[in-house]
Symmetry: C2
Subunit: 241 residues, 2 copies
């Protein structure tokens, strides 16, 4: 999907497939090679890595100027801090904010509830909503009574990875719902034997929500678009400096 | 206060007073000198700096191994991210958690509301509470109806810098209240003409809260203690490596 999207907009993408037995040192060496290559403006390490490789170590080696995924802790730190700006925003959280903004959903002063606290979505989208002046609550697997917290939200970002955990009755009428979940559930009517659903029960929720993203087809394509945007921004920055 | 505390526990502290007109380059040069000095295990830049100096630039120059304040964006990023550990926790947030823990207040699964989102207290203490599995809400100057949000909290961290904004009636009976605010208000009965109060109306709140820190004398001394602890930890780490 990412490769196809690159081709469509005229970004040249190169796949580097390494064998599963590759050593950590070799992966790091490959990252360094790409860091040094002036023709490369964005580096994306496809996760998860094989278990014998330290993911943190590899990700930290990506040059901050080419970290188009925005996962470097220095980037996350600047995203968190008032008055600091990261070079790249993580793609899915950036896509969530873009979806809200393009749908005319105001964020400032609104109650936003983020369900899930992953490094990739829940945490950074919470930080972005906070920077956009929402009152942010982060709900997770240890939260008691998530339902009552979610029911107060003007904006819900569902990123828990729990198939259809958020029911229609959990949603405040008119709330904006961004469903980041992608969960496979059994479906004998499909040739594959499964279908993809979000963290929100879409059929119930779409009757209550003011606006809602579908799964698949909602956040996913926007994440890819933001990755392309980050790469373009990175290239511009390099060429301008 | 910090100097006296250092002397008490046997940490040698050195003050470097620079004139207000000092250039940014000179401050940075001084930081580099301290970074390189093996006898120095912690560097603290007293804020605010004069306006002509870029605070962010100076703070970023402090070696991450000696950043006992824990304000480096790389430290904050690691504090935010699941599975990562910063070298140092910022002192006041670390002190808040220590106060809760020593008072026997469980954090896991509890509703925590942090009032204020500063880089120094509100933001990092929110991230720490989240790591400790609380359901965290961050309330700030753009939040509508902070009262109703605060009233649901099992744990309140008040760090807004607004004298006595949190009334007794805003507090759920039995809640744990950590008051980080230090605000001067007029008081003609004092020789100085003012007295220090927190962000919480202590006299009202202490009748409702399960436990509460006073201002002054609560969080302040704990912050200094955590700074000493960070410095000791930093020194140990250096000597062990």
């Amino acid at each position: 999907m990412k490769r196809k999207a690159c081709a469509e907009v005229g970004i040249k993408s190169v796949d580097i497939d390494l064998p599963e037995q590759v050593s950590e040192a070799e992966v790091v060496c490959k990252v360094h090679e790409l860091n040094a290559n002036p023709d490369v403006h964005g580096i994306l390490v496809q996760l998860p890595l094989p278990k014998h490789i330290n993911e943190e170590r590899v990700l930290t080696e990506i040059s901050i100027e080419k970290d188009v995924d925005g996962f470097h802790p220095l980037n996350i730190g600047k995203l968190a801090m008032k008055g600091r700006e990261p070079l790249f925003l993580p793609c899915t959280p950036k896509g969530c904010i873009e979806l809200l903004s393009r749908s005319g959903v105001a964020i400032k002063g609104k109650k936003a509830v983020v369900v899930g606290r992953s490094n990739i979505v829940g945490l950074p989208v919470s930080l972005l909503l906070l920077k956009a002046d929402a009152t942010v609550t982060i709900v997770h697997s240890h939260s008691h009574d998530p339902e009552s917290t979610i029911r107060e939200a003007d904006i819900i970002i569902a990123a828990a990875g729990q198939a259809m955990m958020i029911k229609g009755s959990w949603i405040k009428p008119g709330a904006a719902v961004i469903d980041v979940g992608t969960n496979a559930i059994d479906d004998k009517s499909k040739k594959s034997g499964y279908r993809l659903v979000g963290d929100v029960d879409f059929h119930e929720a779409c009757k209550v929500a003011g606006c809602i993203t579908p799964v698949p087809g909602g956040v996913g394509p926007m994440t890819v678009a933001m990755l392309l945007k980050n790469t373009l921004d990175g290239a511009k920055r390099t060429l301008e400096s």
